[in-house]
Symmetry: C2
Subunit: 153 residues, 2 copies
Amino acid sequence: MGVDPGVASTGYGVIEALDDELTLVDCGIIVTPVEQEHGERLRHIHEEISLKLAHLRPDVLAVECIFHSKNLKSLVDVSEAIGVVTLAASQQNIKVIKYTPLKVKSSIVGFGKATKEQVQLMIQHLLGLESPPKPHHVSDALAVAICHRNLGC
Amino acid sequence: MGVDPGVASTGYGVIEALDDELTLVDCGIIVTPVEQEHGERLRHIHEEISLKLAHLRPDVLAVECIFHSKNLKSLVDVSEAIGVVTLAASQQNIKVIKYTPLKVKSSIVGFGKATKEQVQLMIQHLLGLESPPKPHHVSDALAVAICHRNLGC
């Protein structure tokens, strides 16, 4: 299971990898309303991710993480969301591995500066989907899941 | 209840404020072992803070937060810890308010560049303690609790 975390919206994507074949199991987005109090938004994300983890029991939770940002406020927000997602996995004894966007893109498209559209097209191809996965939070979540399968820690 | 969060050690301090009088109710530090897996450390912090909140039922959880740091890795770590602490409070319907270190120091010692020792001495005086509260994570937690009482949001 891959997760692209954020307080406003967190994407998730679950894939099954059997030999060389990848299959999409589930994907979606957890959106928290702007008017919701900050702590409630984190609770919302924690609850939804916990439900998905309990239901789907992935082997690993691969999380897209950032360690720098021009906007430190958004770095703080993303990190808080990563904190509650990591907690949810730990509470269910599911291992968490973090990958930077650069690593994710390199492992899928072959170079770290690939555009979102290039990544989406490659995911469509790899999972045999009829159209590219959208929105970006969902394709990024699927990308980090595929990245983990490709790098196989 | 004030909290000074961190993955390695999280300080907490609970005070009671009746009219002009401040009393120390409880304080301490949650230390997570370095060899513990990152997610387990977050779970440890979430569990301990949840227990304290359930037991002491503070009106508010005041959290010392940072929005910039020379070390972005530590900003990310602190933010992840803040995420699980905020979640713990939200799960028990306790309001969370964040204060920057500058605001905390200004509200207690009168200027934002006060040293930790000056803050500790002032806390000792305000709470009528026999010695300054230590270590720093505990005094910082008490400081943010007193800051909230002084600024009274």
